[in-house]
């Protein structure tokens, strides 16, 4: 149990540290990849907490999505290599306030609700995935389908915003 806690703290610390790096670096690519590794560390935390499916999914999805974010940052941010050592931070007071409020909200969310009794045993990893599947096809089917619709909306919105439809059709 203690070993588990040590690793949990280790990966938690890693996640926070990478999160700090996101803002401390001048390079956009470093920033994006620091966020990636921060998310990977969170995935590792899930693994330590024996939420295997969730952990592996987090590790996989964040790698790909943050990489895609990296290319968009390189596309649209000036000096993506950070060679000008330009300060990336601005609106410091506002962000400080938002950060503090966000932290408080998160802490409240952790402490206030009644999370119920601590589970004595974790279901096996295969059971977790299967349970999740049954949940998707049973009680949460509506949520599942609306997630599909949400993704569709996001696709349509992204296409409408980003794609110039009348551009010359090139092959």
């Amino acid at each position: 149990m203690t070993v588990q806690m040590i690793f949990l703290a280790f990966f938690g610390g890693a996640a926070v540290w990478f999160g700090v790096v996101v803002f401390r670096t001048h390079s956009m690519v470093r920033s994006a990849l620091a966020l990636l590794f921060s998310q990977t560390a969170i995935g590792a935390m899930f693994l330590v907490m024996q939420a295997e499916f969730l952990g592996v999914l987090q590790i996989m999805m964040m790698a790909t999505e943050m990489s895609v974010m990296a290319i968009f940052m390189v596309m649209f941010m000036m000096d993506p290599g950070g060679m000008g050592k330009m300060d990336m931070t601005h609106q410091k007071r506002l962000s400080l306030w938002v950060g503090v409020i966000g932290l408080l909200a998160a802490l409240l969310l952790v402490w206030l609700p009644d999370w119920g009794p601590v589970a004595q045993s974790v279901p096996g990893a295969h059971e977790q995935a299967a349970d999740l599947g049954r949940e998707l096809l049973g009680r949460s089917m509506l949520i599942f389908q609306s997630a599909g619709l949400t993704i569709l909306t996001a696709m349509v919105a992204a296409t409408m915003v980003a794609i110039v439809p009348n551009a010359e059709q090139r092959k």
Partner: protein, 120 residues
């Protein structure tokens, strides 16, 4: 083998790989260290010395695909647990996922029609 010990093995392997690579680096360093000379530390570009940094805003022409990819990647999160219980749940799983995938495919078709699936 408990799951936690499996994760421990994977973690240990990763650390082991880093150790292996570091020892290789150490060996190579013992054999000889790089000597700095004019022109050697400039990225090689076919015989022409190009010292300018290239870290500039890079125009990725596959941006349209990338946006649709994000949506499809999200969708896969649902596919795996579904696949595991597919035979157990039977027809309802087929129909449910059929509707879900149809919705997504609609998004793909929309993007296609709007020209997201081409070089921008």
């Amino acid at each position: 083998m408990s799951e936690l010990s499996q994760y421990a093995i994977l973690f240990g392997l990763s650390v082991g790989v880093i150790g292996f690579v570091l020892s290789l680096f150490g060996l190579a360093r013992a054999i000889g260290r790089a000597r700095s000379e004019p022109g050697k530390d400039v990225p090689a570009t076919a015989g022409t010395l190009s010292r300018d940094p290239v870290w500039v805003r890079y125009h990725a022409r596959y941006a349209g695909y990338a946006l649709l990819f994000l949506a499809f990647d999200m969708e896969m999160a649902f596919m795996y647990p579904w696949a595991v219980v597919y035979r157990e749940e039977g027809l309802i799983a087929l129909l449910d996922m059929g509707v879900f995938l149809a919705i997504l495919f609609l998004g793909l078709l929309y993007g296609w029609s709007q020209g997201a699936l081409r070089r921008q």
